[in-house]
Amino acid sequence: MSAMRRLGPLIANLAMTALALMFLYPFYWLIVSSFRSQEAMLVNPLRLMPESFDLAAYTSIRLVGGVPIEVYSFNSMLITVLATVLAVATTALGAYALYRRPHLPGFKFVQFGFLLTMMYPAMLLVIPVYLVMFRIGLLGTYAGLVMFLALQPILFLMFSQFFRSIPRDLMDSAKMDGASEWQVLTRVVLPIAQPVVNTVFLIGFLLNWKQWLPILVVAASPDRYTLPVALLAMNTEYGINFQSTMALAALTTAPIVVLFLLTQRRVIGGFVAGAVKG
């Protein structure tokens, strides 16, 4: 009986560890495969270490579809950072205004309209967005991409959730003391909002980094593509080269994996805060 009692938790932990490793395995396989040729893979698909650290694949992706890899990396960084900054600023202010006075004329309409866009099949929204971009002259521009990507439901929900957690008295008493709405925001809310802003920025970064469809459609030429879009193009258009695809996939994934490993507690907590009761 006591042996069973000790064995039970051990088995449970072993099973859970095995499952966790299975979840992580595709990432490991990705890294190892980027150093292995297709021929080597055929001989032994499950090898845990590459035969040699063959960097051929990484040098082969200096140019993808005729565009230097630096351009894709630069685009990824630029579009992700700008879209995230814009998203944080607009959704924070928007969520704040909607939280303070949800019943002002027009406010319900904006909130409802925003939630509606969440439910429309995004892949089909992108084509009319193309038309909209064309009409307002933003097609193929960074500005257009950045503005479209700034609409992220979960970031909005994270801010809403946060504002709701602030005691109403805190704001109302400031209002009583004659503070304007702007002062309430900058002097009462912002000082305690720093952690939320950081978390939202982090999650916005992670989410924007993996965007691909809007960029594929709205970018007028490959020199506006980001890493995931270049990767998708490689998967379909440029003739499939296994090892190079793995190398580019590794480059696309690595920054996110590192960022997530460094911030996982905050990221997971933030996702949950955004998800819970929108």
Partner: protein, 316 residues
């Protein structure tokens, strides 16, 4: 009796007319700072959310050739009739619904099981690592990870079959056969999403009322019984949120299809969003947007149902 009343009423209405408008303007002016704060967000939502949706729905009522021009020909419900009459669309819709039902049930039950396991004392020490592993696929770029899965399912050198054969199990046909391609997508998307639902359940589990559980234990209820009668009812918020997110994301499944199966083999994974996308590629804009609109209505209806479930009064 009739006429004096009427005149009095309309005279009153006339006198009141400027009132509400003035009051509105005053209200807006009083809260101008809040309106300014909302403005950028509202502008983005209108320009890149509602306008494109309206445009897309409008296009679904136009004829294909003229759909995108300024002088579009409106054809009423013709596109919707054509889409519903298309046997491949009906097949695609039933595939999508089957896929969604299967994925929602599998994801939520696995997530609940994982959350229950992780919330107990047994797995406490490794909990951070387990959560990290489960959540990693949620944040990493799908295009990259789905491409990895596509190659892991490769019949010649993929890791999946190599692992199965080393365990003495039969090979998995992956994306080469209709049924297995469908199952492959279910598995890959499960891997991608389940961590998210798990942590939502976990958070809800941490907020449970421990005294109820304690009382039930005192009354001699076993663990299974307590999970069923004490925990699950209290998990309603997480169940509602997870079903909502799962429904929305699985009904719209697209990236996995375009990266891994391209709708095949033999249309076995030709889900509505992908089918509509291929219609777009063929410049059949009216049909494509009609499909999108149908899918949108389904998502809306199901979302509403889940919302009603979560708001339902508790009769316990």
């Amino acid at each position: 009796m009739q006429s004096p009343m009427l005149t009095a009423n309309s005279a009153n209405a006339g006198a009141l007319q400027p009132g509400p408008v003035m009051a509105w303007m005053l209200l807006i002016w009083q809260h101008r700072v809040l309106y300014l704060m909302l403005l950028p967000f509202a502008a983005l939502t209108l320009t890149f959310g509602l306008w494109p949706i309206a445009l897309s729905i409008l296009v679904s009522f136009t004829e294909n050739q003229t759909a995108l021009s300024d002088a579009a020909t409106y054809v009423g419900l013709e596109n919707f009739q054509a889409v519903i009459a298309d046997p491949e669309f009906r097949h695609s819709l039933s595939l999508t619904l089957l896929y969604t039902a299967l994925s929602v049930v599998l994801n939520l039950s696995l997530a609940l099981a994982l959350a229950l396991a992780l919330s107990g004392p047994t797995l406490k020490r490794g909990a951070t690592f387990y959560k990290l592993a489960l959540f990693m696929p949620v944040v990493t770029p799908e295009v990259a990870t789905f491409i990895v899965w596509k190659w892991m399912l490769n019949q010649d050198f993929g890791a999946v079959n190599a692992a199965l054969s080393s365990l003495g199990l039969p090979a998995f046909a992956g994306t080469t056969k209709a049924d297995s391609a469908f199952i492959a997508l279910v598995i890959v998307e499960l891997w991608h999403h389940v961590g998210f639902y798990t942590v939502v359940f976990l958070t809800n589990l941490q907020l449970l009322d421990a005294s109820l559980d304690e009382a039930a234990r005192m009354d001699g209820a076993g663990r299974a019984r307590r999970i069923w009668s004490i925990w699950i009812p209290q998990l309603r918020p997480a169940i509602a949120i997870n079903s909502l997110y799962a429904l929305i994301s699985f009904l719209k499944t697209f990236t996995a299809v375009i990266v891994i199966t391209k709708g095949g083999p033999n249309f076995a994974t030709n889900f509505v969003s992908y089918y509509a996308y291929t219609k777009f590629d063929l410049a059949q804009y009216g049909k494509a947007t009609a499909m999108a609109t149908i899918l949108f209505v389904i998502v809306l209806a199901l979302t509403l149902l889940v919302h009603l479930y979560s708001e339902r009064k508790d009769y316990r």
